[in-house]
Symmetry: C2
């Protein structure tokens, strides 16, 4: 596995050739590392630094642990703050000690002909992140005349991924082959792919991973038993070397499912004892085990409701079992009635998470984190931000995103999601006045959370290139980068990913970056309009089916009739969902005059002839965006094709094939959506374009 | 397995108690059989007769083969015409010899105190059918003062069933559990269920069965190889004892799939030789093997088109391989473009079979039979009769029905299909002037077919009661009975099934018979209206999804918009499908004034305000039938519930459960269909009933 696709953004191809480089060239010949504890992560960091420099410069650097300051001229001095001498490195201890555990400093020391470079981590992990950052800078910007002066620390403490992998080898909502973790109900505990995956994740700052699907089936229930723990421990070892903590999804009905108890009631002492025993056993194999991820009382999964208990009862029971070992419970808030009758207009799925959890604020243990999806529905191409996020000041929160493109083209369409996530992170909840942004909440800056951060559903599988579509790697990369620093511009992330993955040719960088940056808006334009969502083939979630979820039990409706469309979620005449937002935001959404166009149909039912802020009617907007969306895909494909010869053959051909499939599918979306609304409204396209 | 459900209609419970019985009582004490060849079927017949009489009378009859006429007083004389002495049996040899192979005579001889009963078959199978008929008469009508005088022969020579069973144990379109034939890619060759199934089929005259799915997957391709033939032979033995010939579905790409050749071109001599070898091998295991059933060039199955050959080339190649052994090819005509673009309004799936096959008339071998589905689409609740049937005077035909309720409620709804099949069989094609009915064509009375008849997809699985819903047994029973004698009234079949299955209580017989007779119309009323079809959940085909197939590749559209609905298949303005019918029928369908209401939307696109012959508008008809349909289900359920105590607990509870599910699902159909059309048309229900 050494294809370009497999290497993803860790190519380190070609030579460093910036004009400023000469000055620093000698530094790349030796690495001096003053070891701290010399743990696994430190070894990883130094190994990455050495091999990265070798790949970039063509010379293998000498690695020593010489301790004297003199030796640290004409070298890269890498180490851990507190364990490495800082003299001569232009780093003050006071400055360094302000950094959190994962922070680092990269600084060049220009002493004329005795230049050197310092990479100092606040911990082993900080050093490793510094190394990856340093190598990234070399690849994307090179090292100029002035060298570097970088101080970095992550915005969020928890930066996790969730694998929705099943032990039969399938991946729920996976679009890149089979699982790299399981085959035939065994863990692939010695597979080199897991190490390579860990490395990719560490390079963008991921520090936690739950390695099995939140839907915990029969066999997966046994992952926390001796049957599988030895292999789980091996996988944990692999991730530990990259600073990543391992978590497992657990089955709330575990004691029942394994046939050991006749109940899973969280208040039953036998159940509590059972989980304590399980936790004890897990920690005997994985001493730094992260904790349990739980989907309970959701989409037919078992949970505390079965026993007349609430979610705090359920989560706290698990939290008490994990507390002695420092473990945490990641408790998902994706709880709603998935047996709703579409004829019942009073129930609104969007309200469910808030209604279920808000009243429980303050009842959860300190080592419980509520894991809240970014929108109130389910990872649609466009949703408002979940009003639950931040609404429980006394309960730890983390936000859940989706890197895998379930509703956004399934890695057959290009849909770079960083701009979407950035909108979510930048959203001003106003919960503590203007400027209470989601990213501040997730960083623990607003409420005194003991644990907080972000997580996301991964998009990888055992396809050679990890993500099916080569360009879908950008979402995994972008997730890590944005969650390290949510103030990064999406375009900067797109560009640095492109440079590392496809090289620095100007046309290549401009074309791919441009495609990525346009892609979310393009996908939105030819799929479900104006925030209405859900117009997809049921279950599969690929391709158009306007009524596919309209008469279903899933609570996902658009209510289109011959006059109009949309879900009235206002307090005045609708479900009252808007009331879950802080008053000022609620007013914006409640009011047709202020509700943003792109969320109009999420909040309001309007006639097709309703005028948008854009000046267009809703129906003409639908027609226009759908025709334009296809034109945009055509233009993107044409731009991509102009890169022939500048991209290696294999990736060029592969991406071209997917782009052509995207175009055909975009045309299908255009024609189905336009035809559906034309047939329903009877209103013709002003421009007389073809509608069937 | 001795539950009432498992015994189906072969209960033989209780005592014969007609007042006329006394006269014949002595006859039941002994059975005299003058053996012919004493083959397996004769043994089956005599065994069934003896055990049936024992069950019905409580006394085990003596079975002898005493040959003298004297002995044949006070007995049942059972035998084969030509081998049994007819003197004293009131049967003339001349009369008897006019019967075809499968015919029989049942006659009572009233000699005062020396009464006797004769059951004479024209062959072993004729005798067996006579025995089952005799036992059926005893159960349903009893034996009156005047005894019996029955002469029967089947209308159709081939009366087959197709199992859509896969070797993994699944059953395509099966709604009654797993396969009784396969598990884990092995044949259950010694399973007693196969024998019990054969017996059920023989009791209603089925004489052929293809035991694997027409979609022949990888492993099933090997059924005609030594890997499986020993087990196939065992299954053939089981069926042979009940007069049923075994057929196998084959994979047209067999030589390729098994890796033995690099082509399956039917004109390639290597391919021809390969199939001859296969046929030779099959017949070495199963000397009376029926032949091959083939789905070629259909729904992604391989076929002759791959090689630029036509269906005659393909079928004849297989026919030549089977001819030396007397085998036949059953070649399905279910051929259409399943990759159609819904945006293409010029293609009409309904036309496909006729367009593909009609030009090939006369090109097929004498041992090929075209197997033609009853309608031009696919087993919808209402379709016109396929115009292909009978349209090829020089090509053998058989009609394919569907006993399994794929589109008709999946054995969770009651839908007794005999009335539907009877309409098809009674349809006057007018191909040779008025009175050229489908049943005459299938009987070979119109064109000089060397092989002809009927076949159907079975509805059984390994559920204890065979068919999931107890009442769905009536479809398997009714199929056999109607295809033996298409002039039987559907109601008579329903009643005789009910009497045998649930006993003779008047309320039971009236209620169940009434329910069965109403059920098809009821199902039609709350599902897809006016012949439009296809408003079902894609792939699963259960429950409503009006647009589920509207924008798909399957060629199944309704074209509903804000003004109207239906498929214009006229010659004047539509696809021209009507031209495939004989001129007079074509005129009837072409013309809005004469097209029957129930097929209106199959042939015409009309406004919602179009007036039906019934005087209602289309839209009001939709609303009315859907509200009424649910009311009918409610009434049927109420009637059924009134039988509590008159039906055994197990079956009462089971049927009640399914009927309640049917009611809920009927309500869903009602509400989805009405809401869909209200939202699309904007026209209110005249009666102001609830539409969502």
């Amino acid at each position: 596995m050494s294809s370009r696709g497999y290497k993803a953004w860790l190519h380190y191809e070609g030579q460093l050739s910036n004009k400023g480089l000469a000055k620093w060239a000698d530094c790349f010949r030796s690495i001096i590392c003053i070891p701290g504890e010399r743990g696994g992560v430190l070894n990883t960091a130094i190994g990455e630094l050495a091999s990265g420099i070798e790949a970039l410069t063509g010379n293998k650097p000498e690695v020593t642990d010489a301790a004297s300051a003199v030796d640290r001229k004409r070298c890269i001095a890498a180490g851990i703050i507190g364990a490495m001498p800082l003299d001569g490195l232009a780093i003050s201890l006071a400055e360094a000690e302000q950094l959190p555990d994962e922070g680092f400093i990269i600084r060049t020391i220009d002493n004329g002909d005795l230049c050197s470079i310092a990479i100092a981590g606040r911990s082993e992990r900080g050093l490793m992140y510094g190394v990856f950052h340093f190598l990234r800078l070399l690849q994307t910007e090179g090292i100029g005349e002035n060298g570097f002066n970088v101080v970095e620390q992550p915005a969020f403490r928890l930066r996790m991924l969730n694998q929705w992998d099943n032990m039969d080898g399938s991946v729920e909502r996976g679009y890149a082959g089979r699982s790299i973790f399981y085959r035939n109900y065994e863990l692939l505990a010695r597979s080199p792919r897991i190490k390579d995956y860990a490395r990719l994740l560490a390079s963008v700052g991921i520090n936690g991973i739950a390695i099995n699907n939140v839907n915990v089936h029969r066999q997966e229930t046994k992952l926390i038993t001796e049957r599988y723990l030895p292999d789980v421990a091996r996988v944990a070892d692999t991730f530990r070397a990259y600073g990543i903590r391992l978590y497992l999804s657990v089955n709330f009905a575990g004691p029942l499912e394994l046939g050991e108890l006749d109940t899973a009631d969280p208040l039953d002492p036998r159940v509590q004892a059972w989980w304590k025993e399980r936790a004890n056993e897990v920690y005997s194999y994985v001493p730094d085990f992260g904790g349990f991820l739980v989907k309970a009382d959701s989409e037919n999964r078992p949970g505390p409701f079965t026993y007349g208990r609430d979610h705090a009862d359920g989560a706290n029971m698990l939290a008490d079992a994990l507390a002695p070992y420092g473990g945490i419970v990641l408790w998902r808030c994706f709880v709603y009635n998935c047996q709703q009758d579409w004829r019942d207009r009073s129930t609104d799925r969007a309200k469910a998470a808030y209604d279920h959890f808000r009243p429980l604020d303050g009842r959860f243990r300190d080592n419980v984190i509520l894991q809240i999806k970014n929108g109130p529905m389910d990872f649609q191409v466009r949703e408002p931000v979940s009003p639950l996020f931040g609404a429980m000041p006394n309960t730890n929160h983390m936000m859940e995103f989706q890197v895998t493109q379930e509703y956004t083209g399934q890695q057959r369409h290009v849909c770079f999601l960083v701009p979407q996530w950035k909108e979510v992170l930048d959203f001003d909840t106003r919960l503590k006045g203007e400027g209470t942004r989601v990213k501040d909440l997730a960083a623990g800056k607003v409420h005194p959370y003991t644990h907080c951060g972000v997580t996301a559903v991964s998009n990888i599988g055992d396809d050679d290139n990890w993500t099916g579509h080569h360009l879908a790697q950008s979402n995994l990369y972008g997730y890590g980068r944005l969650m390290w620093n949510p103030d990064l511009e999406a375009e900067a992330i797109a560009e640095e990913w492109t440079r590392q993955t496809f090289g620095g040719d100007a046309a290549v960088v401009e074309t791919i970056t441009g495609w990525l940056m346009e892609s979310w808006g393009t996908y939105e334009s030819y799929t479900a309009p104006l925030g209405v969502g859900w117009m997809v083939t049921p279950h599969y979630h690929y391709g158009p089916d306007v009524d596919g979820y309209e008469y279903s039990k899933w609570g996902t409706y658009h209510f289109a009739d011959w006059k109009g469309i949309g879900v009235d979620r206002t307090q005045a005449t609708g479900t009252g969902y808007t009331a879950q937002y802080e008053a000022e935001n609620a007013r914006v959404y409640e009011n047709l005059a202020t509700c943003p166009d792109e969320l109009l149909l999420f909040f309001h039912h309007v006639p097709y002839i309703h005028k948008l802020h854009s000046g267009k009617t809703v129906i003409q907007h639908i027609y226009d965006t759908h025709f334009e969306g296809v034109q945009r895909v055509e233009a993107q494909l044409a731009s991509w094709l102009s890169l022939e010869g500048k991209i290696d053959e294999e990736r060029f051909r592969h991406v071209t094939g997917r782009a052509k499939e995207q175009l055909e599918n975009a045309k299908l979306w255009r024609d189905v959506i336009n035809t559906y609304f034309y047939r329903k409204s009877g209103i013709s396209d002003e421009q007389g374009r073809t509608i069937y």
